[in-house]
Amino acid sequence: MLNKLKCMKKIVKKKLCFTSICRLEPAFKVKLCILLLTFSVATVSAASFNSGEPGTVSIKPETDNYTIVQQNIVRGTVKDAATGEALAGVGIMVKGTTVGTLTDVNGQFSLGIPGREAILIISFIGYTPQEINVTAGTSVNVSLVIEFTQMGEVVVVGYGTQKKESMVGAITQVNNATLVRSAATNVTNAISGKLSGVLTIHQSGEPGNDQAEIIVRGLSSWQGSAPLVLVDGVERDFRDMDPNEISSISVLKDASATAVFGSKGANGVIIVTTKRGVLSKPAMTFSGSTGAQVPTRLPSYIDSYTTMSMLNVARMNDQQFTQLTSKYALDEYKHPSSRLKALQYPSINWFDECTRDFAPTVNGNLNVTGGTDFVKYFITLGYLYQGNLFKQEDFEGGDFGYWYHRYNYRANLDFNLTKTTQLSFNLGGDVGIRNTTDVSYYGYWMSFYGTTGTQFPAYWPDWVLDEIPDIDYPDASGRRLSTSSNSAWFMNPYNSLNRGSFQRTLVSKVFMDLILDQKLDDILKGLSVKGKISTNSYYSHRVLQSGYNRPTWRIIWDYVGVDANGDGKVDNNPWFRDGQSSEYYYPEPYSQSVGGLALPTGGTGDTAPTLSDSFTNDLYWELSLNYSNTFGKHTVNALALMNRQQRNLGTQFPYYNAAFVGRITYDYSRRYLMEVNIGYTGSERFAPSNRYGFFPSGAIGWVISEENFFKNAVPWMNKLKIRYSDGQVGSDYASSRWLYTSDYYVDNRGYLWESASANSSAQWEVARKKDLGIEIGIFKNLFSFSVDLFDEQRSKMLLTPQTTTFLIGNSFKDLNLGKVKKHGIEVEVEFNKMTAAKLNYWIKGNLGLNENRILFRDDPAFTPEYLKDAGKPINVKYGELTADNGYLTSVDDIHMTPSPISLQTLVLGDYKFIDYNVDGVINTQDRYPVKGLTYAPVVYAVSGGLSWKGFDLSLMFQGNQGKYQSFAPQYELTFYKGDFRVHSANLDYWTPDNPDPKAITPHFNASDVGPAIISWISPAFVDHYWRNSNYLRLKEIYLGYNLNSAFLKRVANISNLLIYANGTDVFTFSPLLREYDPEVKSFGAGWYPLLNNFNLGVKFSF
């Protein structure tokens, strides 16, 4: 009892201590801090009390030894094995008890042990834990080894972990320390460049919606190539996770690693593992950062004078001589004679009018980790704020901007129920609140990049009402919104941002696991059985919205100041409200309303659930039998597992999956390695007879450097390992579900129709993958090198047959017809040097190259070779190319050159196309497979850094090669859809004096599709719509200073303080036009600009 009281006192004291730190540190939001700490400490203390329950091995008051504890002291020092520096804050625990301590700033500790001898567990985040036997009264020196060095590193594989040294599959992994260095606001961007063979494509900078697309080893199917993503072994969406809660992200690439996922592993597997508690005193880490986001690239501003001058050229080209802009107007555009004229003849830079210099971000994370004999815990709370890039007016208190708040939470608890039974409970998730201007209507982003700056001002400043009074509303004052548009396609983007409508969405994800692990050593040593139940739910709710529309006004300039009848008043009111009627206008009061469940927009069971699904939940069961044992030099691991998954997506019929998995790994003396995997998975898509697919794989490895002859012959090479894997993985991805059933459906009028005809023999798509890997380490890993060569043959790929003729009168469900081959190489190189002056510097690089070819895609038999999909990469684009120097330069040219449009509409300076099949006409069959892919075949990264006395600097360059982008017509054409707008791509246009330009002579056509010549062009028109976007960018920069001062430790009990600054996408080299970001796949109707991140942060541990 006495002891218990003391325990409590201790805790209370500690609590006070923590809160006092918060007060000392004014940089923090004190309230939040207290709240979080209270919560965490309460959890910890609850756990501590639990550990005092009878039946667990802890210090029991009724047993002896209270005094002895005081006498049996062990002292020691903990250092970093590599640098020799003292480590502060390292957890020291007596195994089997709750007794423990932390090292001080000098890495020293002293600890009372319950007996004469004990086993100490020494653990520190980022290092491999150690156990040592100690005797009372002695002093020990411990060297901890950093986890990311190769020795002893554990790699997460499917349904388990393996030691890296005995691994035979192609797996690459990134750990927490590397992840948290990134300034990216989304974890999917933080892995960019850090995993060989992984392509990430960032698409948008919209707060809360800025995740990257991830592709492993390139495209491998036309049905979608997204990899399977697992979080703690269950299929989950990881993009909104806080990097601080992630222990590692592991990417499984070859057959031996992915075969256990059977049907789902064909496109690679990404396994995200969250952090777990270790046996130690509670260790608490707080990190916080604030930063700014700046658009990476924005189109350059082209003034109205240039635009309208080019419009005159275009109008003359199109014989619209009566509609030329006058010299007077052009002069006013160039130098407005008054501030009113500057509104009448505006020259607007929409990016200036609409965007701020930067968008703010705030990031915070607090986590507590530790463990006792009974429970180990990792608890974290995270917060992210992304602010608005856009300037928006304050109107009636509404909040129309873009912003995103995200709260991440996680508690991972492992309870040792008995000596052999462990119960784990994980609860994690996030709550995101996203606010967006209501841009759901068509063309908003297109307007942002494309609306003319020549026709109306962004808004009417306050003074306009003074100079031009509104006769109908004499009391009116202040700023007024201006005309919303002058065409059906392009709106005033300032209005769109300020019209008063917005949507606020709350998105919540909850992941839960309950795992029971029972050791069965009594039955067979090394045997254990594990059961797991997991649920995920995804929920999206429109919490607040407004569809308000503020009035917009135009000024009829002809009425301004006109007083024909001489009564001293202007005759007609120049102010005209859009939609004006004769009735007096009272603005409707501003209103906003709570919304409903966000409507589901697609999403299938084949891809990870996305936020667009209003409500998704799934239930996952897993039962496995594990065996792990070592007999002398033989180490055997075995796994038998079965699982089931039921996924409910909105109102769709539930998706079902089931699998049986087996694996045996064998290791002889860490020299000869072998692995056999089996995946046996079932899919609802196939008839019962074809339902289950059997996917075997095997791998062998030989660690030559462990052989004595090698050690003798090549002593400087500390590592040489050769591994080879071969096997099958599957995919059931198809364009519809239940391929084996033929059915009849009811149309909108109640009649019955036959749906696509069934394919009763449909079965699994099979990917045969081979991978040869070589790993080399030289001079004790001063220099390390690994290379993977891979080859993949996909067959029986499901595809909708293309050779069906119209005679059939129906279509067929997918048939197993397609074939694709793919091969590639991945290289990782690292050089890591520690100098005598304790300067550590390193440089490393990775390169992934892959190439795929369609072998068969059911091309119609008589298709010309160049139009067949077979023999070409997946997603190849068919486009056209210009002939000669690209343009029609003479009347002869116009008459002699075939053109897709009639020659009456052609003018000099129009495109001159190549008649690819030489049939005298230019038509769609002259489109041929053009060079370049939107998914770059070559991805590389080079990074380097140095650390010295607490300073830490690193840089990472990342690049794509062979990448192309397609431009939507509005960025390539002049005056697209009648909008008075040119882009920088148009400026260097053909004239007789400029015979070697980059752009067609200007055209103006107000119709939907623009000039006739343009309407015909495909999205892959080389060098115009289809542009090379190779890039190399400084993806990440990081500078940190680690302060380990005794002063801090003494005053604030802070064991470690880190101050850092980091940034992403700092600068970019690319042949692409300067104003477009080369990373995105295409420029369609517009996009939220991609953003750089710059952060300043601090992190400290207690």
Partner: protein, 622 residues
């Protein structure tokens, strides 16, 4: 003990897990139906088959979008949101707006093919007809599974309709895309998908044979006619099944198919083919008249199209008002395709404007031909025609079919299609004022399908679109009999000569008999038969196919398209009507052109790569 309890627990859990394993993935939704459920139930099989008349398989949100037989019916093609008629693809009429029809009539199909191919918003006939053929074949293969048909006759009726519809779908494909293989079975995933075409004549013959099979089953089912043929009798023309074809229609279509087969474009056996066509046409006329079909009187002539859902002349027809969802705005829909927005107060409409050559095909009321300058010269000399007062004393059908300058219009008094010089300023009347979209560029509008409704005469008349009507059978007979036996000899077993058959059509409307100068020879009379057919069946989607099967299209399409310029002038001896009529060329972008590829529609580029047995060279890309 404890460890055994744990072991038992796990064994139990595993057993539980496996026990439900077998069925875990056998779950599939029950919102759709199995073939057994569809074909064993008579009600379901009707829902399955009637889709060919009214269904919408791709479930478009707009109820106006059809993918069924309606897409081929005359009024569907010409009405609705489609904004141009099949006639506008020919030299017969010109669109009041430049739309997709214009490149097609100029010989550039280009991407406009989607309109007829597979765009459900338009007239997706290629995909729809093959889908329908598959439906008919599926029904015929499953007909034995029906368990609860009320009577055997109901089964026969279904079989008859399946054969009829299958034949009709092939016919529709034949007329647009040329010869076809005759698809009489369901094509499966492992069958040959590239099937050789029959010859042109064989295609017609195969279609006619299937119609004949349909007739046999219609007869067995007692569905030679679907309503009570007694005039005014109960249910007359009011039978809910009127939208379905009947036995007479089957025979009538045999007449049309054999006539098509005998025509110059498709003829395989010379006069023999014409003889067969004449025989079939005579049989069809006999069968129709025995079953109470008759030519409507002159007073009721217009009810063939406007004023009723069905008529006793229409053997098989499409009641426009019966169409799903069209009840509310069909008046506007009708106005929308053939008259300027002036009458509807709208600015987004199109107009269907007959060319001068169409107008010239309407004879004087005494039967003088006006087709050529020589014809008009002769008529003028005879005192029967005046180019400056051209709209008096014409064939009575002229006043029904054509909206001409000064034609009476309810609510507007007269159609003013002219311009006037007022003190040096040109003043355009509303019907040619460009501010109304869809004005006439020829000086005429078509009136046949118009019920005189307008913003000033807000009525909503019924429309009947005859798919085949009795008058056509007389014309078919006359054309075939003239070719086989000359103008003045009846076909064996028939009681009418070709000339008499033509005069039957003219007498019913009050037009004079064909003048004897035209009936001297087969060749001379052939032109008058063609002219008669164009006038009687104008704007009923025959012209496009007729000028092709006659192989007159190269001549007619290449000829300049003319219209008339009408200036209001004081009444004088020279201008007795007070208007000056000057023939003029329609502007260049409203002209037609011809190349032989235009005999048939092409296919999508990708389809050319799929087939060789199916001879794609018949349909060159244009």
């Amino acid at each position: 003990m404890k460890k055994y309890i744990i072991l038992l627990f796990w064994i139990g859990l595993i057993t539980l897990f496996f026990s439900s394993c077998e069925k875990y993935l056998d779950k599939a939704p029950i919102s759709t139906f199995t073939p057994e459920e569809v074909f064993s139930n008579f009600g379901n099989i009707h829902l399955y088959f009637d889709a060919v008349y009214k269904g919408q398989p791709t479930r478009q949100s707009s109820t106006n979008d059809d993918e069924n037989l309606q897409t081929s019916y005359p009024l569907y093609i010409d009405g609705g949101p489609r904004k141009f008629s099949i006639d506008q693809l020919t030299d017969l009429t010109v669109g009041g707006r430049i739309r997709e029809d214009q490149p097609i009539r100029l010989g550039t199909m280009g991407t406009n093919l989607y309109i007829f191919y597979d765009d459900v918003l338009q007239r997706p006939q290629l995909t729809t007809m093959f889908r329908i053929i598959r439906k008919c074949n599926t029904l015929l293969e499953n007909i034995g599974n029906i368990k609860d048909a009320p009577t055997q006759e109901d089964i026969y009726d279904l079989i008859a309709q399946a054969h009829f519809v299958r034949a009709y779908a092939h016919y529709d494909l034949f007329r647009f895309w040329g010869p076809m293989p005759y698809i009489d079975k369901v094509i499966g995933p492992y069958d040959q998908w590239d099937i050789p075409r029959l010859s042109k004549y064989e295609t017609c013959k195969a279609i006619a044979n299937d119609f004949d099979t349909a007739y046999t089953f219609f007869a067995k089912a007692g569905k030679i006619r679907r309503d009570n043929p007694t005039v005014g009798g109960v249910g007359h023309l009011d039978n809910p099944d009127m939208f379905r074809p009947n036995g007479v229609a089957a025979k009538a279509f045999i007449s049309r198919m054999l006539l098509y087969g005998a025509s110059p474009l498709n003829n395989a056996h010379g006069a023999k083919d014409w003889e067969d066509a004449a025989k079939a046409s005579w049989e069809a006329i006999q069968l129709a008249e025995q079953n109470g079909y008759f030519l409507l009187s002159a007073e009721n002539y217009k009810r063939n199209w406007v004023g009723s859902n069905y008529s006793d002349e229409a053997i098989w027809a499409y009641a426009y008002a019966e169409h799903y969802g069209r009840g509310i705005d069909y008046t506007n829909q009708m106005l929308g395709y053939m008259l300027t927005g002036y009458f509807s107060g709208r600015t987004d409409w199109c107009a269907d404007c007959p060319t001068q050559s169409c107008i010239d095909r309407f004879e004087t009321k005494w039967g003088d031909a006006l087709n050529t300058p020589e014809d008009r010269e002769a008529a003028t000399t005879a005192g029967n025609y005046n180019e400056q007062d051209p709209f008096v004393n014409r064939d009575p059908r002229f006043y029904i079919d054509i909206l001409y300058n000064q034609a009476p219009v309810i609510g507007y008094e007269k159609a003013n299609i002219y311009w006037e010089d007022v003190g040096g300023t040109i003043v355009l009347q509303d019907l040619i004022k460009p501010s109304w979209v869809g004005i006439t560029y020829t000086g005429y509008f078509q009136r046949k399908w118009w019920g005189d409704q307008s913003v000033k005469n807000n009525i909503r008349p019924f429309y009947c679109a005859p798919i085949i009507r009795l008058a056509e059978l007389y014309l078919n007979y006359a054309e075939a009999a003239n070719e086989a036996y000359g103008p003045n000899a009846p076909a064996p077993g028939a009681t009418l000569t070709a000339v008499q058959a033509i005069n039957v059509i003219r007498q019913r409307i009050g037009q004079a008999d064909v003048q004897s100068k035209y009936t001297g020879s087969k060749e001379a009379f052939r032109d008058r038969i063609k002219n008669e057919r164009i006038v009687e069946l104008c704007f009923e989607t025959h012209y496009f196919f007729d000028e092709r099967r006659w192989m007159d299209a190269p001549k007619w399409m290449a000829a300049p398209n003319m219209g008339v310029d009408i200036q209001k002038v004081p009444v004088s001896a020279e201008y007795p009507a007070g208007f000056k009529y000057t023939r003029k060329l329609v502007q260049a972008d409203h002209q037609t052109a011809w190349k032989d590829a235009m005999y048939y529609f092409p296919f999508y580029p990708n389809d050319y790569f799929k087939m060789r047995a199916f001879d794609m060279s018949i349909n060159p890309y244009w």
